[in-house]
């Protein structure tokens, strides 16, 4: 399987990561090198060298589930600090480029 520059561009659009033409070329080379490596497990399973049948996907072991938090509203003292950190804020809102309805 070969991954094309076109597929990398589409992937970058999905992940919302801007890439220059040079980056697209380098990324394509990385994918074509790394993807076969990443496929080692499914491949070995098909070849019968790794038995994944009936094996559950790993879940981190949490023996004692955490006690749920209490439902008690606390004031938000960091509101002003959070708004101050915004790249652009106005009248208490975070500003983004105009979104057309149902975009």
């Amino acid at each position: 399987m070969t991954i094309t520059e076109q597929e990398i561009r589409a992937l970058a659009e999905t992940a919302k990561v801007g890439l220059t033409d040079g980056e697209v070329t380098a990324m394509t080379a990385y994918f074509n090198d790394a993807v076969p490596f990443c496929g080692a497990m499914a491949r070995a399973a098909r070849e019968g060298r790794l038995d994944l049948d009936g094996v559950p996907p790993y879940a981190p072991a949490v023996e004692e589930p955490p006690a749920p938090g209490e439902d008690r509203a606390v004031p938000s003292p960091l509101r002003d600090e959070l708004l101050a950190a915004a790249p652009e804020a106005r009248d208490g809102f975070f500003v983004v480029p105009r979104i057309l309805e149902e975009e």
Binding site: P66, G69, R72, V74, S76, R79, D91, F94, R98
Partner: protein, 272 residues
């Protein structure tokens, strides 16, 4: 040959849980009508390093509703991240229960159009976070200008239970009846205030219409399923479904193919 048209409707109802604080942080859940971003913290704003702490009360209310709907209740809670980029979503993912919902496989009996009792199967009930709100201009003329939209995260992270039905409803009246029963149930159990106008109970409808040979009962054709949103009263739900069903019948009758799509009810114009 006589042809019959049978609507097939399933509802997804988002119920805002009657908690004091949000689902994974302790910001106030009393957001309605508050100043923009008055109820935000590092948690619901997705700041790196802030960690989710589940609201135990929200889980309790979801389980209560699940029991009332005769669902099987899972003995542990599992959460997943649902990723999408949008300005109302502060972490670029919504914490939801995709694979393993808290409650599954329930039943709610409703009064059908002919007066008989009809069981409606409940697929699942799961917990999830709400998204924030985007505004495009303020009523008093502030925030004017064509180039910006504005994000308010007060609602972001609010505790929701999503109740999904099987497509067992076959008329706008039944859909309305089902939604009214859900609303009554969550109110009675103090799970939610169920206020549709304030958006604390939101109904999305999945609707398609099947064309059936009235004599043999053979299904001749299906219209592509449409998801209809933005109905903020039971009356609006009924009207939107009437409109949508008519649209599907006409398409089936004329042989036009519909696309599978999401449509929004426009209350003023009475169209989707």
């Amino acid at each position: 040959m006589t042809v019959r048209y049978v609507p097939v409707i399933g509802l997804e109802i988002h119920v805002q849980l009657a908690t004091e604080s949000k689902l994974f942080c302790r910001c106030s859940a009393d957001y309605f009508g508050k100043a923009p971003n008055a109820h935000i913290c590092p948690g619901c704003m997705g700041l790196p390093g802030a960690m989710p702490i589940l609201n135990g009360r929200a889980a309790e209310l979801a389980v209560r509703a699940g029991i009332a709907l005769s669902c099987k209740i899972r003995d542990r809670l599992y959460f997943d991240r649902k990723h999408y980029f949008y300005a109302d979503l502060s972490k670029a993912y919504q914490i939801s229960q995709d694979g393993r919902p808290v409650a599954e496989g329930g039943l709610l009996k409703i009064r059908s159009d002919d007066g008989t009792l009809k069981p409606v199967r409940i697929t699942r009930l799961h917990l999830e976070e709400d998204a924030g709100k985007l505004v495009h201009s303020a009523a008093d003329g502030r925030l004017e200008g064509a180039e910006n939209s504005y994000a308010d995260y007060n609602r972001g992270g609010m505790a929701l239970a999503e109740i999904v039905s099987e497509p067992d409803l076959s008329s706008p009246g039944e859909a309305r009846e089902y939604a009214a029963r859900i609303r009554q149930l969550v109110r009675y159990l103090a799970v939610s205030d169920g206020d549709m106008e304030k958006g604390s109970l939101r109904v999305d409808a999945n609707v398609s219409v099947k064309q059936v040979d009235a004599d043999t009962g053979e299904v001749l054709a299906w219209s592509a399923r449409a998801e209809v949103k933005n109905m903020n009263s039971l009356r609006a739900l009924e009207r939107a479904l009437e409109y949508e069903i008519r649209r599907h019948r006409e398409a089936l009758a004329s042989g036009e193919r519909l696309e599978r799509e999401t449509r929004h009810w426009n209350e003023a114009e009475g169209v989707t």
